[in-house]
Amino acid sequence: MSPLRRFLRTPEAVTGAMLLAALIAMALSASLLFPGDPQAIAGPALLPPFQDWSLPLGTDRLGRDVLAELFHGARTSLAVGLAAAAAALVVGAVVGTLAGFAGGLVDEVLMRITDAFQTVPSFLLALAFVSVVGPSLGVVVIAIALGTWTGPARVARAEVLSIRERDYVAGARVIGMHPLAIAFREVLPNALPPVLAMSSVIVAAAILTEAALSFLGLGDPNRVTWGGMIAEGRAVLRTAPFLSIVPGIALVLTVLGVYLAGEGIVETTAVRRGLS
């Protein structure tokens, strides 16, 4: 059975893929469906959902269109989640490969640095970094990546340690290949599968961290974020709970979708590797 068909036969994976597809559709269509500034005032303040069909999810305290904010927020969540996870995976894979392949002092130093990063809780690290450098989309991405690259680095290092003893690495040395070329052309690609298997968890965690930073007011102030929307709604939680509940549900479904789809991919490809 092909991996795609096995993926489609797993209900969890299909659910995840559908949630993820909805999120991506929201992110891509945000500026088509809601071309204006999502932070502009669109109607009366605190309009409840399903009252006015031009504002289906109502408005917030300042009269901004909640649905428009939700769509534009999907963009931020997805962009930050993917960018932070990609940065963490790339940095982790490179550091882990260098440490595992070089061994000796290089390994020692790199792993001490990894330990140091790992002892600080990643959310505190992100919080501190954004507070010092100032909130912007790029800074938030770096802040989240700072706390997450250590996991991929450890996994990559362990994999590289076993691969570097193989004959084909000795063969590459005999050919006269440069050690860095051996590490990154010959060893790293074969060490990647277990590192990539971590990506769904990392993307999901990055999306949550971004929401948490925005909730604390440390998100990019020029962008709508779901965390920021929840924080906004908190002030009127009793009178207009939907303002917190709507972005909250969006967040939960997104994290669930990323996780389920990611696990589905890992599972179907892992089975295939196990069989062959």
Binding site: D167, A170, G171, G176, H178, P189
Partner: protein, 266 residues
């Protein structure tokens, strides 16, 4: 002057709290175009000598002169450049290649690393190398795991000769193959030696094969040289205890020798 001169080579490994000498004060030389065989029981240090000669591991003591210069003194870019002249073929041709590689990439590597051919010229060179080892050029785009074991070992030989080496280390290079394929690979190696004057350090546990392809043989026992001399002389009439034991334990060889002996009696 000899092509490779190894003197007093020693390599120890720690096992628990005692050190064992995997290679113990070994000296030998190989002349251009010559085949020197290394034989000996399992664990006698054959592969360790191969890895030392290739600078895959560093010796504790000793000297290696290759093509007239101190090979152990080289490092970095100078060592990598000199590696073009000293190549290796491994026992397991599947483990010896990157599992993601294609035949073309495997042969492209040495040409690219040593700047032997321009990017545009390389496909032609790769085709020529494949034909040189008796394969068709159409094999180039195939993945390494998609070709047969014999084809794979031919590709390994093509990769080894791509940089025009003067010495190739063959560590059990034909041992993992079927008998018929083994014969073809050995014949290819002999052809290459005759035409390109390549010397071989030929590691094998098969004394019958050594007798037919090697000029000289060294018998190793626990890291030391037990016996050393003309391949046919040593194998037909071993003097050392380990030599006698190895010959006695080689069934195929015994049959051949018996046939030879009976042919001589007729």
């Amino acid at each position: 002057m000899s092509l490779l001169a190894v003197s007093n080579l020693t390599k120890c490994y720690r096992r628990g709290d005692k050190t064992i000498a995997a290679v113990d004060d070994v000296s030998f030389h190989i002349d251009p175009g010559e085949t020197l065989a290394l034989a000996g029981p399992s664990g006698s240090g054959k592969s360790t000598i191969a890895r030392l000669v290739l600078r895959l591991i560093e010796p504790d003591d000793g000297r290696i002169d290759f093509e007239g210069s101190d090979f152990l003194a080289l490092s970095g870019a100078a060592l990598r450049a000199r590696r073009a002249r000293l190549q290796m073929v491994f026992q397991d041709p599947l483990a010896a290649f990157n599992p993601r590689a294609t035949v073309a990439r495997v042969l492209d590597d040495p040409l690219r690393v040593h700047g032997i051919a321009s990017r545009a010229e390389r496909p032609r060179r790769i085709a020529a190398l494949l034909e040189r080892v008796g394969l068709i050029a159409d094999l180039a785009p195939r993945a390494i795991h998609e070709i047969s074991g014999g084809q794979r070992q031919r590709v390994a030989i093509a990769r080894a000769i791509a940089t025009k080496p003067s010495l190739i280390v063959l560590d059990e290079a034909a041992s993992a193959l079927d008998v018929s394929v083994r014969g073809e690979i050995l014949k290819l190696l002999l052809d290459l030696q005759r035409q390109e004057k390549i010397a071989y350090l030929f590691i094998s546990h098969d004394l019958g094969v050594i007798r037919s392809v090697a000029h000289r043989v060294i018998l190793l026992d626990a890291g030391r040289i037990a016996e050393n001399g003309d391949a046919q002389t040593v194998i037909d009439a071993p003097q050392s205890a380990i030599g006698k034991a190895l010959v006695a334990a080689a069934p195929r060889l015994n049959r051949t020798l018996m046939r030879l002996a009976s042919a001589g009696l007729d």
